[in-house]
């Protein structure tokens, strides 16, 4: 690990000043410290923000508000999460291990770096780690990589389960920075790799994630998260799907679907959603919608299986949500 200087801050204003001076925020540290030890991340100045009062979880009407420093385990077990958006608890508990969920923050979860093995392999080419060197995954071991949103420069998937649920739920982020405060959809936090895979998110330099807002609790109750992976727990997704259904009188009034493990960012399936409106919640409709989700998929040498697995995961997640009382 390269040496760094260190500062602990107590207020958002102090944090923003420290970041404006070039500091890097440290929250739970479960991604950052790991990558610093590998010398993939090399921050010169760390700003420990854990003392900021940003860990609160609360309801505001039917919206759920989650402070950026709330820990995954605390959000997953919070009564307001379970009352308003159990989908969020479900997605959180499908991710990481109990130890990591006790340490990792919500803001850090969204900003975690990719799990592509070549990103960590310093003797392999990786455009994300070192722009212009090439992508080792495209001609390499790529069974775990993306089939949607890839470019010739990067094919890594975004690893967060929570992000998939938040994108399906139309959650928004509130951030503060040198230019003031702004809010935007969680979906817009994530960039496609394109020609600049080293740029992963849309935060401006020095911006701090303050809070996540998840709107409209009760209508989103027919919501499920299904994660398919190589082992039953403590494993990243091969394919995952979050679905949110509003069904009345045996007709789908609205559907929201997002997938993980398949895209270079959490992937919203809007064509599939539109195809479900007005339909009865039955397998034929779900299968037709799932077919639209894989249009445009570009599998790599080792991950053709993900195309069919994505179809099936969407159908099964829709059935699971549809079965909810």
């Amino acid at each position: 690990m390269f040496p760094f200087s260190l500062e602990k801050v107590r207020t958002e204003d102090e944090a923003l000043r420290a970041a404006a001076a070039g500091g890097r925020f440290l929250a739970g540290g479960t991604t950052l410290i790991d990558l610093m030890r590998e010398e993939i991340e090399q921050p010169r100045h760390l700003v420990d923000i854990n003392a900021l009062p940003l860990a609160e979880i609360r309801a505001e009407g039917s919206d759920l508000l989650i402070g950026a420093l709330a820990r995954m385990a605390d959000v997953a077990g919070h009564p307001e999460t379970l009352r308003l958006h159990p989908l969020i608890a479900e997605s959180l508990l499908e991710g990481a291990s109990p130890q990591l969920r006790n340490a990792a923050s919500i803001g850090g979860n969204l900003l975690q770096r990719v799990r592509c093995p070549y990103f960590r392999m310093r003797d392999a080419a990786c455009n994300k780690r070192m722009p212009g060197t090439g992508c080792s995954a495209i001609g390499g071991l790529n069974a775990g990589h993306a089939i949607l949103g890839t470019s010739e420069h990067c094919v890594a998937t975004h690893p967060s389960d929570l992000a998939v649920a938040l994108v399906a739920l139309d959650a928004t982020l509130r951030v503060r920075g040198p230019e003031g405060e702004r809010s935007f959809p969680v979906e817009d936090l994530f960039r496609l790799p394109g020609e600049t895979p080293h740029l992963e998110h849309t935060l401006m330099p020095g911006e701090l994630i303050v809070e996540v807002r998840v709107p409209d609790g009760p209508p989103a109750r027919k919501a499920r998260y299904l994660k398919v992976r190589d082992r039953a727990s403590y494993e990243f997704a091969l394919v995952s799907t979050a679905v949110v259904l509003d069904i009345q009188d045996d007709r789908i009034l609205s559907a929201r679907i997002a997938a993980g493990g398949v895209g270079t960012r959490p992937w919203r399936m809007r064509a599939s959603e539109a195809a479900l409106i007005g339909k009865a919640p039955v397998r034929e409709a779900f299968s037709a919608a799932a077919e639209l989700a894989v249009r445009g998929a570009r599998p790599l040498s080792g991950n053709h299986y993900k195309v069919d697995l994505l179809r099936r995961t969407i159908v099964r997640a829709l059935e699971m949500a549809g079965d909810m009382a």
Binding site: M1, G29, A103, A232
Partner: protein, 155 residues
């Protein structure tokens, strides 16, 4: 490189150390305080051998820096027994043969204590899911699950 003073209450005793800011909580325990019961397995948060309780919550000591825990209370495997009386889960690991080589065992036991305290030990399936952050290369899982079930039943 400048060092930093950190005071952590470890197993009930306030301990102050001067360390490089890069020092992980794991290395602070092992290298500075010579509490080598907590093991360094993967050193990247994947194996759970370094599991300790910080303010009662289990975390990976390798993925956190000592300075982040100034003023915290840490419990390691050395802090579970009371004198010569083993913690019930330590005794259960012996009863149930919950180990082979023993390297992962301190992390398994500390994690298991938390698993029971959290209320996540009501069935073998629940224990499996909530102990998934602790890997055992020898494959002693049946004994580990039996030990946690036994200790949970007594507590």
């Amino acid at each position: 490189m400048s060092t930093r003073g950190v005071t952590i209450t470890v197993n009930g005793e306030a301990r102050s150390i001067e360390c490089d800011p890069r020092t992980s909580l794991l290395d602070a325990l092992r290298e500075h305080l010579h509490l080598t019961g907590t093991k360094k397995g993967c050193n990247q948060g994947a194996c759970g051998a370094c599991t300790v309780l910080v303010d009662g919550r289990r975390i990976n000591a390798c993925l956190t820096l000592a300075f982040m825990h100034d003023g915290a209370e840490v419990t390691t495997i050395e802090g579970l027994a009371t004198g010569d009386a083993l913690h019930p889960l330590q005794a259960a690991f012996i009863d149930c043969d919950g180990l082979q080589c023993g390297f992962c065992t301190p992390g398994q036991i500390v994690s298991g204590v938390a698993c029971i305290n959290e209320g996540h030990a009501s069935s073998a399936a629940e224990i499996q899911a909530w102990m998934s952050g602790n890997i055992c290369r020898c494959g002693a899982y049946p004994g580990i699950i039996a030990a946690i079930s036994q200790a949970a039943g007594r507590s």
